[in-house]
């Protein structure tokens, strides 16, 4: 994000093209051109419409208390159209903000009836929200800059020599394990692409056994992975395991010529 601010600010020309309420107004739609790929990355860098608006305001050194609504709305809408054009999935919040901006703009343009004498500046609510968001955005950066565990600070890992009293290890029961499994499956079902319980574990187990026995430097004979003593089922399981490993590119099968012995080695 910081990078975004700087590069945009440097390409910025501050020639006022109009005066509104005695304030210079700068609108530079030209600098909105960003290559589509870059734009995608760029837009993903925004945490939402408030963040995008703050960016537009910061880029032009506009005082947040005196936002040129018409200009900012125009720029904001250009981003929205670009996102739309690129068929990016646009969060509904961006559209809600667009209509809020349009409403403020029209209220600023229209002469206001006398009875609304006490009414605040139409921009007041937006300015309040922008400032509030900015406040916490800054606080998040400050928090991120604090020294913290695992990054600047590490817990000491001082050995505890084997005392007579043994250091207890946490106890885990199979029921604990199953309860964790059930949770994780329930959660995975929210993600359509994962199927945790599909494959029989015997294949998975055999895959591990195969991986254990091979390495990248040596060849292991293919037939060594089949134990006739295990019966038909065992042979099938081994065969599926090897196919599965092959599919995941974890192993290589090597055969020097047709009908020569097949060897298995770890993918190097």
């Amino acid at each position: 994000m910081e990078k975004g601010y700087n590069s945009a600010a440097s390409s910025q020309s501050e020639m006022p093209f109009a005066l509104v309420q005695g304030e210079p107004l700068t609108v530079i739609p030209q600098d909105l051109y960003i290559p589509p790929d870059a734009l995608l990355v760029f837009l993903e860098a925004f945490e939402g419409p408030l963040d995008l608006l703050l960016y537009l305001i910061k880029r032009q050194n506009i005082d947040i208390l005196n936002i040129p609504i018409a200009a900012i709305t125009k720029q904001y809408m250009e981003y929205i159209h670009m996102m739309d054009h690129l068929e990016l999935e646009l969060a509904a919040e961006y559209l809600v903000m667009a209509s809020m901006l349009a409403e403020i703009k029209s209220r600023m343009l229209l002469p206001r009836p006398i009875e609304t004498d006490d009414e605040d500046d139409p921009r007041a609510e937006l300015v309040r929200r922008l400032q509030e968001y900015e406040q916490f955005k800054k606080a998040a950066e400050d928090l991120d800059a604090l020294d913290r565990l695992e990054r600047e600070i590490h817990l000491t890992s001082i050995d505890i020599p084997r005392f007579d009293i043994e250091v207890p290890m946490p106890e885990v029961s199979l029921a604990d394990l199953m309860s964790a499994f059930r949770d994780v499956v329930n959660r995975a079902e929210q993600f359509a692409s994962h199927h945790v319980d599909r494959e029989p574990l015997s294949v998975r187990e055999r895959m591990v056994i195969v991986l254990d026995r091979i390495n990248a430097d040596e060849f292991t004979s293919f037939i060594d992975f089949f134990e006739p003593g295990e019966g038909r089922m065992g042979v099938v399981v081994s065969f599926i395991a090897i196919l599965e490993l092959l599919k995941e590119s974890l192993i290589e099968l090597v055969q020097s010529k047709p009908y020569a012995p097949i060897y298995v080695k770890a993918k190097s």
Binding site: G22, L65, P111, D120, L149, H154, T156
Partner: protein, 194 residues
């Protein structure tokens, strides 16, 4: 108990524990001993240990849930070379959500969304809860009874803080009317004329 001996025992305890230890917890560990130190003895010994480590690679630091021995941040450059793994990184969305919970607790997910202007993904809340940085405090008595969240001691411990007061102060919010008097004035005039 001799003060030097008490200091050595405390040092061993801090070194052995993987969590911060509070004065009360430490006090309880001595219950039943013939020479049982009182809480003030323990506090005094801790202060001396903090001092002892002042110029070393380790520090005895007070965080929310007690004192812990930790590696000083000054030597992170060399310590990082011990490990291949990079420290976990947290997204802006997560940090902003966390900071809102920290400063505005108790707060609902909806209130966080209002301030950030975007929805808060379930993953963020899940990660924050899993890290034990955030906990549910109850329900807000509005329709839907949304969960109210607050931060935990573990959150403070992780960010090396003793209390929430040590969090960086928030920037000030300026009032649109105060800082833009001419503008408002003109608007009001215009309105009055019409």
């Amino acid at each position: 108990m001799d003060n030097d001996r008490l200091k050595a025992i405390l040092e061993a305890l801090f070194a052995a524990s993987d969590k911060p230890l509070s004065v009360s917890q430490l006090f309880e560990l001595f219950i039943g001993d013939i020479e049982q130190p009182d809480r003030d003895d323990i506090r005094k010994a801790i202060q001396e240990l903090v001092e002892k480590y002042r110029h070393s690679g380790i520090e005895l630091k007070q965080v929310a849930s007690g004192y812990r021995l930790q590696v000083r941040a000054d030597y992170e450059v060399w310590v990082a070379r011990l490990w291949e793994q990079k420290p976990p990184r947290y997204s802006r969305a997560l940090m902003e959500t966390l900071v809102l919970i920290a400063y505005r607790q108790p707060i609902t997910r909806g209130e966080i969304e209002d301030i950030r202007g975007v929805s808060v993904s379930t993953n963020i809340i899940r990660t924050l809860r899993e890290r034990d940085w955030v906990k549910p405090l109850g329900h807000k008595e509005v329709p839907g009874r949304p969960t109210l969240y607050g931060t935990t001691r573990e959150f403070l411990d992780y960010f090396n803080l003793k209390t929430l007061n040590e969090l960086p102060t928030l920037a000030e919010i300026r009032d649109i009317d105060q800082f833009n008097p001419e503008f408002t004035f003109e608007q009001k005039n215009e309105a009055a004329v019409n």
